[in-house]
Amino acid sequence: MNEETLDVRGLLCPMPVIRTQNRVKTLAAGQRLEVVGSDPGMLSDIPAWCRINGHRLLDSRRDGGNIVVVLEVGANG
């Protein structure tokens, strides 16, 4: 599976969203991105960002001390 990872641990929102946005720009539709961070704000901000910009949220969860969000790049992101 074509999945990339982005480490945004230690960054506070909205930086994780900005980094996600900038990485997604370099990906093709259908590609998956796993974002690993520490700010719980990610759990609401990245899904909202996905809804707005037409990407598919595959997972968002707390994983130990980390926050993990997985998305699939949409067709007209």
Binding site: C13, P14, V17, I18, Q21, P40, G41, A48, W49, I52
Partner: protein
């Protein structure tokens, strides 16, 4: 006819939301742009304080975009923005808010984005007379001119009181359906929000960023004084939002967490700073900002003890971590009268 496209500055507040909506409703394709300066009220402050953790957290700019059904581009301008904060051509407002330079900067950025992305004009939520510094008739003209946006900057909420811009003259938008708000009042905006069915929108008091906050600005001014020049890194300005700041001597200050959420937040910085925490009693994590010697650390430890649960004890053990090495010292908590009010920033 080609689809006309506009980029709308979205702060997360009501006015920019209304401005975008007014143009959107005229059939223009609108996308939002939001600038992250590091000082924005948005976002992370919620993450810091534990008591807020169960509250609904949201980024207002994202929320606005979702309500409007538009895309939002968030741009990190932290580095470039420093020059705006440090050397504002038009000076500061009531605190350290360089609102006029800030507006010029952001509209110019939006203009660059507009050109790169083949958009036709820019929308802002400015209202004449709404803000003392950046939203006056004369200063709004400066924003148009110095940003280079001029004729392609549309302010839908007060357009009727201004000279028609290109989007109006070209018929991309119908000037008759724009507004002529002016003055400090909020009534017309609230009324328009109601008509659009907007609820639960954010109404930031003072402004959209921490630079308008008096106590924040005081701490930033102190930082500049202590460093001998107006410089800052993102970490510095983040830390100004957190904890009690106490400066016992010009060459160092202490950042003391006020509750568990702040301790958690400061933990993220402990590798970069000398820090202290009580071990014999419960108490806050404290960072030391500045170069300190043994005497300074002794005093710092006594201050930390004062803010620990051992404040009334004879002795408190304080762990001290310097360059990754931890040792424990035993101190008497500082008494209230030994902690002058002037040390608090």
């Amino acid at each position: 006819m080609k689809q006309v496209k506009a980029v709308s500055l979205i702060s997360g507040g009501l006015d920019s939301m209304l401005a975008a909506k007014v143009v959107l409703d005229q059939g223009v394709h609108v996308e939002g742009i939001n600038f992250y300066t590091g000082f924005c009220v948005e976002g992370h402050t919620h993450a810091i304080r534990r008591q807020d953790q169960n509250k609904q957290k949201r980024n207002n700019a994202l929320w606005v975009a979702e309500q409007l059904g538009i895309k939002l581009h968030i741009v990190d301008i932290i580095e470039e923005y420093k020059d705006v904060v440090i050397n504002p051509k038009h000076g500061y407002g009531a605190n350290l808010n360089p609102c006029l330079d800030c507006k010029v900067f952001m509209v110019n950025k939006a203009r660059e984005w507009m050109l790169e992305n083949g958009f036709d004009f820019i929308i802002t939520g400015e209202v004449i007379g709404q803000r003392p510094m950046s939203q006056r008739r004369d200063t709004m003209r400066i924003v148009s001119r110095d940003s280079g946006a001029d004729d392609v900057l549309l302010r839908p909420l007060c357009a009727k009181t201004l000279v028609p811009t290109l989007p109006e003259r070209a018929g991309w938008v119908d000037r008759e359906k724009l507004y002529g708000f002016n003055g400090r009042g909020r009534k017309p905006q609230i009324e328009l929000a109601r008509r659009f069915g907007f609820e639960d929108f954010a109404q930031p008091a003072g402004g959209c960023c921490f630079l308008t906050d008096e106590s924040y600005a005081r701490k930033l001014a102190d930082l500049w004084r202590a460093r001998g020049s107006k410089i800052y890194e993102l970490d510095d300005i983040m830390l100004l939002k957190v904890g009690r700041h106490i400066r016992p001597q010009p060459h160092y200050k202490l950042i003391i967490a006020r509750e568990a959420g702040e301790t958690q937040f400061l933990m993220g910085y402990r590798k970069a700073y000398t820090h202290l925490f009580p071990v014999s009693h419960g108490g806050p994590l404290t960072l030391v900002d500045g170069q300190v010697d043994a005497t300074d650390l002794q005093l710092a430890a006594r201050i930390v003890a004062r803010f620990s649960q051992g404040r009334d004890a004879d002795q408190v053990d304080i762990a001290l971590v310097e360059h990754g090495e931890q040792r424990v010292i035993t101190v008497t908590p500082l008494r209230a009268e030994e902690l002058p009010q002037e040390w608090y920033l």
